[in-house]
Symmetry: none
Subunit: 306 residues, 2 copies
DNA sequence: GGCATATTATAGAACAAATCTATAGCTCTG
DNA sequence: CAGAGCTATAGATTTGTTCTATAATATGCC
């Protein structure tokens, strides 16, 4: 890995130049010099320096997150090559959201393990952007998710569509929207809730200019009255207010148990595409393509068609 | 990016050392030297050299794929920091653990939205350290949590105490620990569950030398039989096993509804201080201080006094 | 207040590394 | 078999990195 970035990580972890210097077995002036140089090449101040040590600026925090990713990617690369030399097959890891896992991925993985007990598939559950993070650092080979609108193409991912799912709107019992079909304008009259809370360190994944549609993305902060990464919190909020929770319709039955009911829509609902994200670089690898084929086949029998 | 990797990519793309040398504006012997060095650090031959140029070995192919990823990651990081510098004004986002959210933050937020519909408050639920992380990277303005022991003071946070809470222990109905007061040793005989999943990247927030007490910190990986970032998962585990879920007592009523009951403690329980974490530099901002005042007021009426 | 002890910053010397020039050696092609 | 195109090698040169020594500044403690 890049020397300056490695040293940067050490400084961020130690919280001081001198502390990092001792762990890195170099002297403190060297680090002072190098970190200045890094700040120059990055073009932003990375630290707030004081006589108690250094603290990361927000630019420093961004770099820290990404430098850690790069570090992981580098380590994963080295071990991948080492595995290649030993002739041992690398295990594949698949990422997924909980619903896809429960719906059909689980069975597929169980089958796969049985067929290839020596090269098992591992599974990482999480939200889309975390999974993207993990894919970029080489921790997972591919993941299942909704198509992410406005994703920056320079990230270099392929998206393989599998299924069409639609968004439904959910409100508490006795809400005025219930009882008759409603159009989009009527629904938008009420405050909106969404169960996805973007973190700024994921903002780099997005490229606003190339957005295909004009819909709000996860980073629009104005549109929603309430948003949270916790679905439970969103449900609580929907139960305690007149706001409308928008979520994929596959959760309808679970929501009814919590006391949220689906609003009938008088217009065709917004369709989302669910599918597989995979790095362009990994296309063509035998095991990856095999897994994609298996997932596609399983999706065709379980999920709504495209 | 790492210089050698950049040069490696150029060589792989050009298919020859001399060709890459001209595009890189360096001389061919330099590249010969550098690529040898890279092969040494990677520990595998990357090229098959011939008088017609060079060809990637399978190790070279692996490195090529991953080096391209690193390259992109680096570029994306630079542009993310540049975007950050252009500056985006953010709304207020409050972080919290689920317990505080359910107990009183929910009502406060619902009220707040009604009062200021144009400047909504967003909520991020998560464990303390994730919230700390998010606060430092600017995603959230403040968060509610237990006082974090051993926190490195150079991080520059203010802690505003709100309430004294104690940790209780919860088990499923009919558990042997129920029915009589138990001491700490008796409770520790059973496997432990905790609803906090530490990530190693947060370790830098801690300053081990200044830790006041010797209690297990969140980074002890051996002590707990089960830990998850999802409270629901912890509850599931507690219901399905003999393990003891340790959690703040304020959730007792909610736990009873789920089928978990509090173990009577024969010794005085460990007291924690709950309060608001906020960045020193954001103190004084009108909306931040307003929110702090509202939270403090709500806490006084809902939570145990200090 | 003032001393001890952290910290980062600076300057110049010493050292290490990267790069270049020049040249050799190999292999395919006409 | 000579020429063109490539990589490899050796030693000189240039550039960059790291170190030592010291200054400057803040913090905490007596």
């Amino acid at each position: 890995m890049d020397k300056l970035l490695t040293q940067f990580l050490a400084v961020a972890d130690a919280g001081s130049l001198s502390g990092a210097a001792t762990t890195l077995l170099i002297t403190q002036p060297t680090l002072t010099f190098n970190m200045r140089k890094l700040e120059e090449t990055i073009g932003a101040p990375l630290f707030e320096r004081s006589s108690r040590g250094v603290r990361l600026t927000r630019y420093g925090e961004t770099l820290y997150e990404n430098a850690r990713l790069m570090n992981r990617l580098y380590d994963n690369t080295l071990s991948a090559i080492a595995d290649q030399q030993r002739g041992t097959e690398r295990g594949l890891t698949v990422g997924s959201g909980y619903s896809w896992w429960a719906m059909f991925l689980k069975d597929l993985v169980v089958h796969y393990q049985r067929e290839f007990p020596k090269a098992p598939v591992q599974v990482s559950l999480g939200n889309q952007l975390r999974l993207l993070d993990q894919m970029l650092s080489g921790d997972i080979s591919l993941f299942l998710a909704h198509e992410i609108d406005g994703l920056n193409p320079s990230i270099g991912t392929d998206f393989i569509p599998l299924s069409r799912v639609y968004n439904a709107h959910f409100v508490h019992e006795g809400h005025k929207l219930l009882g008759a079909p409603r159009n989009r304008a009527e629904i938008n009259d009420y405050p909106q809730i969404i169960s996805s809370l973007a973190e700024s360190r994921h903002e780099r994944f997005f490229d606003i200019s190339r957005r295909r549609t004009r819909v709000e993305t996860v980073f629009d902060r104005t549109h929603y009255a309430f948003r949270s990464n916790s679905l439970a919190a969103c449900i609580d909020y929907a139960l305690a207010s007149e706001a409308v929770l928008t979520h994929t319709h596959v959760m309808r039955d679970a929501f009814i148990k919590s006391g949220l009911f689906e609003v009938e829509q008088s217009e065709p609902p917004r369709i989302n595409i669910a599918g597989i994200y995979v790095l362009k670089e990994r296309r063509g690898e035998e095991r990856v393509e095999d897994l994609i084929a298996r997932i596609s086949a399983a999706a065709r029998t379980t999920l709504p068609p495209l």
